[in-house]
Symmetry: C6
Protein backbone atom coordinates (compact mmCIF):
# COMPACT_ATOMS: atom_id res chain seq x y z
CA UNK A 1 0.00 0.00 0.00
CA UNK A 2 1.69 3.20 -1.07
CA UNK A 3 1.70 6.13 1.34
CA UNK A 4 1.37 8.72 -1.44
CA UNK A 5 -1.07 7.65 -4.18
CA UNK A 6 0.56 7.95 -7.63
CA UNK A 7 3.76 8.99 -5.83
CA UNK A 8 3.26 12.68 -6.55
CA UNK A 9 1.98 15.75 -4.72
CA UNK A 10 0.93 17.44 -7.96
CA UNK A 11 -2.78 17.50 -8.73
CA UNK A 12 -4.84 19.20 -11.41
CA UNK A 13 -7.13 21.12 -9.07
CA UNK A 14 -7.55 22.19 -5.43
CA UNK A 15 -10.39 19.67 -5.09
CA UNK A 16 -8.11 16.82 -6.13
CA UNK A 17 -5.44 18.22 -3.85
CA UNK A 18 -7.83 18.06 -0.94
CA UNK A 19 -8.73 14.48 -1.77
CA UNK A 20 -5.04 13.66 -1.83
CA UNK A 21 -4.56 15.29 1.58
CA UNK A 22 -7.32 13.12 3.04
CA UNK A 23 -5.80 9.99 1.50
CA UNK A 24 -2.33 10.84 2.76
CA UNK A 25 -3.65 11.21 6.29
CA UNK A 26 -5.50 7.89 6.05
CA UNK A 27 -2.66 5.89 4.56
CA UNK A 28 -0.26 7.02 7.26
CA UNK A 29 -2.70 5.76 9.89
CA UNK A 30 -2.68 2.48 8.01
CA UNK A 31 1.12 2.37 8.09
CA UNK A 32 1.29 3.13 11.81
CA UNK A 33 -1.47 0.68 12.70
CA UNK A 34 -1.58 -2.18 10.16
CA UNK A 35 -4.18 -4.03 12.23
CA UNK A 36 -7.52 -3.41 10.53
CA UNK A 37 -9.59 -4.07 13.65
CA UNK A 38 -7.71 -1.43 15.60
CA UNK A 39 -8.21 1.01 12.77
CA UNK A 40 -11.91 0.30 12.89
CA UNK A 41 -11.76 1.72 16.36
CA UNK A 42 -10.87 5.05 14.80
CA UNK A 43 -14.04 5.07 12.74
CA UNK A 44 -16.14 4.11 15.75
CA UNK A 45 -14.48 6.91 17.67
CA UNK A 46 -15.65 9.40 15.08
CA UNK A 47 -19.23 8.47 15.87
CA UNK A 48 -18.84 8.52 19.65
CA UNK A 49 -16.34 11.31 20.22
CA UNK A 50 -16.98 14.25 17.96
CA UNK A 51 -13.76 15.95 19.05
CA UNK A 52 -11.92 13.14 17.23
CA UNK A 53 -13.50 14.41 14.04
CA UNK A 54 -11.98 17.81 14.64
CA UNK A 55 -8.60 16.19 15.30
CA UNK A 56 -8.81 14.31 12.01
CA UNK A 57 -9.77 17.48 10.16
CA UNK A 58 -6.78 19.18 11.78
CA UNK A 59 -4.41 16.63 10.26
CA UNK A 60 -6.00 17.01 6.83
CA UNK A 61 -5.51 20.78 7.06
CA UNK A 62 -1.78 20.26 7.63
CA UNK A 63 -1.44 17.74 4.81
CA UNK A 64 -3.31 20.09 2.51
CA UNK A 65 -0.97 22.98 3.32
CA UNK A 66 1.88 20.87 1.94
CA UNK A 67 -0.05 19.74 -1.13
CA UNK A 68 -1.18 23.30 -1.87
CA UNK A 69 2.38 24.64 -1.62
CA UNK A 70 3.59 21.84 -3.90
CA UNK A 71 1.08 22.98 -6.51
CA UNK A 72 1.90 26.66 -6.04
CA UNK A 73 -1.70 26.97 -4.86
CA UNK A 74 -3.02 26.16 -8.34
CA UNK A 75 -2.62 29.87 -9.15
CA UNK A 76 -2.07 28.93 -12.72
CA UNK B 1 -20.39 17.80 -2.16
CA UNK B 2 -17.13 19.42 -3.19
CA UNK B 3 -14.37 19.77 -0.61
CA UNK B 4 -13.20 23.14 -1.96
CA UNK B 5 -16.11 25.41 -2.96
CA UNK B 6 -15.62 26.73 -6.51
CA UNK B 7 -12.49 24.58 -6.71
CA UNK B 8 -10.14 27.51 -6.07
CA UNK B 9 -8.21 28.99 -3.16
CA UNK B 10 -8.28 32.47 -4.68
CA UNK B 11 -10.68 34.96 -3.12
CA UNK B 12 -11.24 38.66 -3.62
CA UNK B 13 -10.68 39.69 -0.01
CA UNK B 14 -9.34 38.43 3.34
CA UNK B 15 -12.92 38.24 4.61
CA UNK B 16 -13.90 35.89 1.81
CA UNK B 17 -10.70 33.96 2.38
CA UNK B 18 -11.66 33.44 5.98
CA UNK B 19 -15.12 32.26 4.99
CA UNK B 20 -13.48 29.80 2.62
CA UNK B 21 -11.22 28.53 5.40
CA UNK B 22 -14.25 27.86 7.61
CA UNK B 23 -16.01 26.06 4.77
CA UNK B 24 -12.98 23.95 3.96
CA UNK B 25 -12.74 22.82 7.57
CA UNK B 26 -16.45 21.95 7.64
CA UNK B 27 -16.53 20.08 4.35
CA UNK B 28 -13.61 17.89 5.36
CA UNK B 29 -15.50 16.91 8.50
CA UNK B 30 -18.39 16.01 6.22
CA UNK B 31 -16.12 13.85 4.06
CA UNK B 32 -14.64 12.03 7.06
CA UNK B 33 -18.00 11.51 8.75
CA UNK B 34 -20.78 11.34 6.13
CA UNK B 35 -23.33 10.43 8.80
CA UNK B 36 -25.27 13.60 9.53
CA UNK B 37 -26.38 12.49 13.01
CA UNK B 38 -22.81 11.93 14.09
CA UNK B 39 -21.87 15.34 12.75
CA UNK B 40 -24.67 16.83 14.80
CA UNK B 41 -22.73 15.58 17.77
CA UNK B 42 -20.01 18.01 16.86
CA UNK B 43 -22.36 20.94 17.07
CA UNK B 44 -23.76 19.73 20.40
CA UNK B 45 -20.20 19.40 21.63
CA UNK B 46 -19.60 23.05 20.91
CA UNK B 47 -22.33 23.95 23.36
CA UNK B 48 -21.23 21.54 26.09
CA UNK B 49 -17.46 21.55 25.77
CA UNK B 50 -16.11 25.01 25.09
CA UNK B 51 -12.61 23.67 24.50
CA UNK B 52 -14.00 22.03 21.34
CA UNK B 53 -14.70 25.53 20.06
CA UNK B 54 -11.03 26.41 20.48
CA UNK B 55 -10.05 23.22 18.67
CA UNK B 56 -12.32 24.13 15.76
CA UNK B 57 -10.90 27.65 15.64
CA UNK B 58 -7.44 26.11 15.59
CA UNK B 59 -8.23 24.18 12.42
CA UNK B 60 -9.66 27.28 10.76
CA UNK B 61 -6.45 29.16 11.57
CA UNK B 62 -4.43 26.50 9.75
CA UNK B 63 -6.73 26.43 6.73
CA UNK B 64 -6.61 30.23 6.59
CA UNK B 65 -2.80 30.24 6.58
CA UNK B 66 -2.95 28.22 3.34
CA UNK B 67 -5.66 30.39 1.78
CA UNK B 68 -3.82 33.58 2.73
CA UNK B 69 -0.55 32.34 1.20
CA UNK B 70 -2.42 31.32 -1.96
CA UNK B 71 -3.68 34.89 -2.27
CA UNK B 72 -0.28 36.41 -1.49
CA UNK B 73 -2.01 37.83 1.59
CA UNK B 74 -4.17 40.11 -0.57
CA UNK B 75 -1.30 42.62 -0.50
CA UNK B 76 -2.52 43.87 -3.69
CA UNK C 1 -19.87 40.76 12.18
CA UNK C 2 -16.84 40.61 9.93
CA UNK C 3 -14.32 37.82 10.43
CA UNK C 4 -11.34 40.02 9.53
CA UNK C 5 -11.63 43.54 10.98
CA UNK C 6 -11.10 46.17 8.25
CA UNK C 7 -10.84 43.27 5.77
CA UNK C 8 -7.05 43.43 5.63
CA UNK C 9 -4.11 41.57 7.15
CA UNK C 10 -1.84 44.61 6.85
CA UNK C 11 -1.09 46.50 10.06
CA UNK C 12 1.28 49.33 10.90
CA UNK C 13 3.18 47.52 13.64
CA UNK C 14 3.76 44.07 15.17
CA UNK C 15 1.70 45.13 18.18
CA UNK C 16 -1.30 45.89 15.99
CA UNK C 17 -0.66 42.66 14.12
CA UNK C 18 -0.86 40.76 17.36
CA UNK C 19 -4.10 42.48 18.29
CA UNK C 20 -5.48 41.52 14.90
CA UNK C 21 -4.44 37.88 15.45
CA UNK C 22 -6.34 37.82 18.75
CA UNK C 23 -9.41 39.35 17.13
CA UNK C 24 -9.31 36.91 14.22
CA UNK C 25 -9.25 33.99 16.62
CA UNK C 26 -12.17 35.43 18.60
CA UNK C 27 -14.34 36.26 15.62
CA UNK C 28 -13.99 32.78 14.20
CA UNK C 29 -15.22 31.36 17.50
CA UNK C 30 -18.17 33.72 17.16
CA UNK C 31 -18.88 32.45 13.64
CA UNK C 32 -18.69 28.79 14.69
CA UNK C 33 -20.79 29.31 17.81
CA UNK C 34 -23.19 32.23 17.32
CA UNK C 35 -24.89 31.50 20.64
CA UNK C 36 -23.53 34.03 23.11
CA UNK C 37 -24.30 31.93 26.19
CA UNK C 38 -22.29 29.01 24.85
CA UNK C 39 -19.41 31.35 24.09
CA UNK C 40 -19.55 32.54 27.66
CA UNK C 41 -18.66 29.00 28.56
CA UNK C 42 -15.32 29.54 26.87
CA UNK C 43 -14.52 32.45 29.12
CA UNK C 44 -15.56 30.52 32.21
CA UNK C 45 -13.37 27.68 31.06
CA UNK C 46 -10.39 29.99 31.03
CA UNK C 47 -10.87 30.57 34.74
CA UNK C 48 -11.42 26.93 35.65
CA UNK C 49 -9.17 25.08 33.24
CA UNK C 50 -5.86 26.84 32.77
CA UNK C 51 -4.85 24.50 29.97
CA UNK C 52 -7.62 26.08 27.90
CA UNK C 53 -5.67 29.33 28.17
CA UNK C 54 -2.67 27.66 26.60
CA UNK C 55 -4.86 26.27 23.84
CA UNK C 56 -6.21 29.74 23.09
CA UNK C 57 -2.70 31.17 23.05
CA UNK C 58 -1.75 28.41 20.64
CA UNK C 59 -4.39 29.53 18.15
CA UNK C 60 -3.28 33.14 18.44
CA UNK C 61 0.30 32.08 17.67
CA UNK C 62 -0.87 30.45 14.44
CA UNK C 63 -2.99 33.41 13.40
CA UNK C 64 -0.07 35.73 14.14
CA UNK C 65 2.28 33.69 11.94
CA UNK C 66 -0.04 34.45 9.01
CA UNK C 67 -0.40 38.13 9.88
CA UNK C 68 3.36 38.51 10.33
CA UNK C 69 4.08 36.89 6.95
CA UNK C 70 1.48 39.14 5.32
CA UNK C 71 3.34 42.16 6.67
CA UNK C 72 6.75 40.78 5.70
CA UNK C 73 7.45 40.77 9.43
CA UNK C 74 7.37 44.59 9.56
CA UNK C 75 11.03 44.54 8.55
CA UNK C 76 10.68 48.00 7.16
CA UNK D 1 0.98 45.95 28.70
CA UNK D 2 2.24 45.57 25.16
CA UNK D 3 1.78 42.23 23.43
CA UNK D 4 5.09 42.48 21.55
CA UNK D 5 7.91 43.91 23.70
CA UNK D 6 9.63 46.82 21.89
CA UNK D 7 7.05 46.38 19.11
CA UNK D 8 9.46 44.51 16.86
CA UNK D 9 10.19 40.91 15.90
CA UNK D 10 13.82 41.70 15.10
CA UNK D 11 16.42 40.56 17.64
CA UNK D 12 20.20 40.51 17.62
CA UNK D 13 20.60 36.79 18.21
CA UNK D 14 18.68 33.48 18.22
CA UNK D 15 18.86 33.47 22.03
CA UNK D 16 17.13 36.84 22.23
CA UNK D 17 14.66 35.63 19.62
CA UNK D 18 13.80 32.68 21.80
CA UNK D 19 13.32 34.93 24.81
CA UNK D 20 11.00 37.08 22.71
CA UNK D 21 9.01 34.01 21.66
CA UNK D 22 8.52 33.04 25.32
CA UNK D 23 7.42 36.59 26.20
CA UNK D 24 5.01 36.75 23.28
CA UNK D 25 3.35 33.54 24.40
CA UNK D 26 3.07 34.82 27.98
CA UNK D 27 1.73 38.25 27.12
CA UNK D 28 -1.01 36.78 24.95
CA UNK D 29 -2.14 34.66 27.89
CA UNK D 30 -2.24 37.88 29.88
CA UNK D 31 -4.39 39.55 27.24
CA UNK D 32 -6.83 36.63 27.04
CA UNK D 33 -7.05 36.23 30.81
CA UNK D 34 -6.42 39.59 32.53
CA UNK D 35 -7.29 38.11 35.93
CA UNK D 36 -4.01 37.45 37.70
CA UNK D 37 -5.41 34.79 40.03
CA UNK D 38 -6.68 32.74 37.11
CA UNK D 39 -3.30 33.04 35.45
CA UNK D 40 -1.70 31.74 38.61
CA UNK D 41 -3.65 28.60 37.96
CA UNK D 42 -1.56 28.13 34.84
CA UNK D 43 1.64 28.14 36.83
CA UNK D 44 0.22 25.72 39.39
CA UNK D 45 -0.83 23.50 36.52
CA UNK D 46 2.75 23.31 35.36
CA UNK D 47 3.69 21.73 38.66
CA UNK D 48 0.79 19.28 38.79
CA UNK D 49 0.24 18.39 35.15
CA UNK D 50 3.51 17.94 33.33
CA UNK D 51 1.75 17.62 29.99
CA UNK D 52 0.81 21.29 30.36
CA UNK D 53 4.53 22.04 30.23
CA UNK D 54 4.76 20.32 26.87
CA UNK D 55 1.75 22.29 25.64
CA UNK D 56 3.39 25.55 26.68
CA UNK D 57 6.63 24.55 24.97
CA UNK D 58 4.59 23.77 21.86
CA UNK D 59 3.28 27.33 21.71
CA UNK D 60 6.78 28.75 22.18
CA UNK D 61 8.00 26.62 19.26
CA UNK D 62 5.34 28.17 17.00
CA UNK D 63 6.08 31.71 18.14
CA UNK D 64 9.77 31.10 17.60
CA UNK D 65 9.19 29.89 14.04
CA UNK D 66 7.71 33.31 13.28
CA UNK D 67 10.46 35.24 15.05
CA UNK D 68 13.16 33.18 13.34
CA UNK D 69 11.65 33.77 9.89
CA UNK D 70 11.41 37.51 10.66
CA UNK D 71 15.12 37.53 11.38
CA UNK D 72 15.97 35.43 8.31
CA UNK D 73 17.20 32.86 10.83
CA UNK D 74 20.06 35.14 11.91
CA UNK D 75 22.06 33.71 9.01
CA UNK D 76 24.16 36.82 8.97
CA UNK E 1 20.82 5.21 16.50
CA UNK E 2 20.75 8.16 14.15
CA UNK E 3 17.81 10.55 14.33
CA UNK E 4 17.80 11.19 10.57
CA UNK E 5 18.46 8.03 8.53
CA UNK E 6 21.29 8.60 6.02
CA UNK E 7 21.66 12.10 7.52
CA UNK E 8 19.77 13.78 4.68
CA UNK E 9 16.28 15.10 4.02
CA UNK E 10 16.60 14.54 0.28
CA UNK E 11 14.72 11.56 -1.17
CA UNK E 12 14.07 10.37 -4.70
CA UNK E 13 10.28 10.38 -4.50
CA UNK E 14 7.35 11.60 -2.37
CA UNK E 15 6.78 8.00 -1.25
CA UNK E 16 10.31 7.76 0.12
CA UNK E 17 9.90 11.19 1.65
CA UNK E 18 6.83 10.00 3.49
CA UNK E 19 8.68 6.93 4.75
CA UNK E 20 11.43 9.22 5.99
CA UNK E 21 8.89 11.40 7.79
CA UNK E 22 7.51 8.35 9.60
CA UNK E 23 11.02 7.23 10.57
CA UNK E 24 11.97 10.68 11.82
CA UNK E 25 8.93 10.76 14.06
CA UNK E 26 9.72 7.29 15.43
CA UNK E 27 13.39 7.87 16.05
CA UNK E 28 12.70 11.04 18.01
CA UNK E 29 10.37 9.06 20.27
CA UNK E 30 13.25 6.64 20.73
CA UNK E 31 15.59 9.48 21.67
CA UNK E 32 13.15 10.97 24.18
CA UNK E 33 12.26 7.61 25.71
CA UNK E 34 15.19 5.20 25.36
CA UNK E 35 13.41 2.60 27.49
CA UNK E 36 12.01 0.03 25.08
CA UNK E 37 9.29 -1.21 27.45
CA UNK E 38 7.90 2.29 27.84
CA UNK E 39 7.91 2.70 24.09
CA UNK E 40 5.95 -0.50 23.79
CA UNK E 41 3.28 1.31 25.71
CA UNK E 42 2.92 3.62 22.75
CA UNK E 43 2.15 0.73 20.43
CA UNK E 44 -0.35 -0.72 22.87
CA UNK E 45 -1.96 2.69 23.11
CA UNK E 46 -2.55 2.69 19.39
CA UNK E 47 -4.70 -0.40 19.79
CA UNK E 48 -6.65 0.87 22.80
CA UNK E 49 -6.92 4.59 22.15
CA UNK E 50 -7.63 5.33 18.51
CA UNK E 51 -7.17 9.07 19.07
CA UNK E 52 -3.49 8.32 19.69
CA UNK E 53 -3.31 7.11 16.10
CA UNK E 54 -4.56 10.48 14.90
CA UNK E 55 -1.99 12.22 17.09
CA UNK E 56 0.79 10.12 15.59
CA UNK E 57 -0.45 10.86 12.08
CA UNK E 58 -0.45 14.54 13.00
CA UNK E 59 3.26 14.44 13.82
CA UNK E 60 4.03 12.61 10.57
CA UNK E 61 2.18 15.33 8.64
CA UNK E 62 4.42 17.99 10.20
CA UNK E 63 7.62 16.04 9.55
CA UNK E 64 6.52 15.47 5.96
CA UNK E 65 5.93 19.19 5.42
CA UNK E 66 9.62 19.73 6.20
CA UNK E 67 10.81 16.84 4.04
CA UNK E 68 8.62 17.97 1.14
CA UNK E 69 9.94 21.54 1.31
CA UNK E 70 13.51 20.20 1.44
CA UNK E 71 12.85 18.35 -1.81
CA UNK E 72 11.09 21.30 -3.43
CA UNK E 73 8.03 19.06 -3.46
CA UNK E 74 9.67 16.72 -6.00
CA UNK E 75 8.37 19.04 -8.71
CA UNK E 76 11.09 17.83 -10.98
CA UNK F 1 21.35 28.18 30.87
CA UNK F 2 21.05 29.34 27.28
CA UNK F 3 17.86 28.60 25.37
CA UNK F 4 19.66 28.07 22.06
CA UNK F 5 22.96 26.16 22.46
CA UNK F 6 25.82 28.04 20.78
CA UNK F 7 23.30 30.79 19.99
CA UNK F 8 22.88 29.68 16.38
CA UNK F 9 20.39 27.67 14.33
CA UNK F 10 23.04 26.67 11.81
CA UNK F 11 24.32 23.08 12.02
CA UNK F 12 26.60 21.03 9.82
CA UNK F 13 24.14 18.21 9.15
CA UNK F 14 20.47 17.24 9.46
CA UNK F 15 21.40 14.91 12.32
CA UNK F 16 22.93 17.77 14.29
CA UNK F 17 19.94 19.90 13.38
CA UNK F 18 17.64 17.31 14.86
CA UNK F 19 19.69 17.16 18.04
CA UNK F 20 19.45 20.93 18.26
CA UNK F 21 15.67 20.77 17.84
CA UNK F 22 15.43 18.31 20.75
CA UNK F 23 17.64 20.52 22.92
CA UNK F 24 15.65 23.64 22.07
CA UNK F 25 12.44 21.94 23.12
CA UNK F 26 14.00 20.76 26.38
CA UNK F 27 15.59 24.06 27.33
CA UNK F 28 12.34 25.93 26.85
CA UNK F 29 10.67 23.52 29.27
CA UNK F 30 13.48 24.34 31.67
CA UNK F 31 12.85 28.06 31.26
CA UNK F 32 9.10 27.72 31.80
CA UNK F 33 9.48 25.39 34.78
CA UNK F 34 12.78 26.08 36.56
CA UNK F 35 11.87 23.66 39.36
CA UNK F 36 13.77 20.46 38.70
CA UNK F 37 11.39 18.24 40.68
CA UNK F 38 8.43 19.39 38.63
CA UNK F 39 10.36 18.73 35.46
CA UNK F 40 11.04 15.22 36.69
CA UNK F 41 7.32 14.77 36.52
CA UNK F 42 7.58 15.18 32.76
CA UNK F 43 9.99 12.28 32.48
CA UNK F 44 7.82 10.10 34.71
CA UNK F 45 4.87 11.01 32.54
CA UNK F 46 6.66 9.67 29.50
CA UNK F 47 6.78 6.25 31.16
CA UNK F 48 3.17 6.26 32.35
CA UNK F 49 1.36 8.13 29.60
CA UNK F 50 2.62 7.18 26.17
CA UNK F 51 0.57 9.89 24.52
CA UNK F 52 2.85 12.40 26.24
CA UNK F 53 5.69 10.93 24.20
CA UNK F 54 3.80 11.73 21.02
CA UNK F 55 3.18 15.27 22.26
CA UNK F 56 6.89 15.74 22.92
CA UNK F 57 7.76 14.39 19.49
CA UNK F 58 5.24 16.84 18.04
CA UNK F 59 7.09 19.78 19.55
CA UNK F 60 10.42 18.48 18.24
CA UNK F 61 8.93 18.26 14.75
CA UNK F 62 7.98 21.94 14.89
CA UNK F 63 11.36 23.03 16.23
CA UNK F 64 13.07 20.98 13.52
CA UNK F 65 11.01 22.65 10.78
CA UNK F 66 12.54 25.96 11.87
CA UNK F 67 16.07 24.59 12.14
CA UNK F 68 15.79 22.91 8.74
CA UNK F 69 14.57 26.10 7.07
CA UNK F 70 17.41 28.03 8.72
CA UNK F 71 19.89 25.62 7.14
CA UNK F 72 18.13 25.69 3.75
CA UNK F 73 17.49 22.01 4.39
CA UNK F 74 21.20 21.21 4.12
CA UNK F 75 20.74 20.98 0.37
CA UNK F 76 24.37 21.79 -0.13
Amino acid sequence: MPLIPDNTLITATPEEGRELAIMMARKTIGAIQPDADARQGVRALYANDPSALTAAGHVVAIEFATVAAANDYWRG
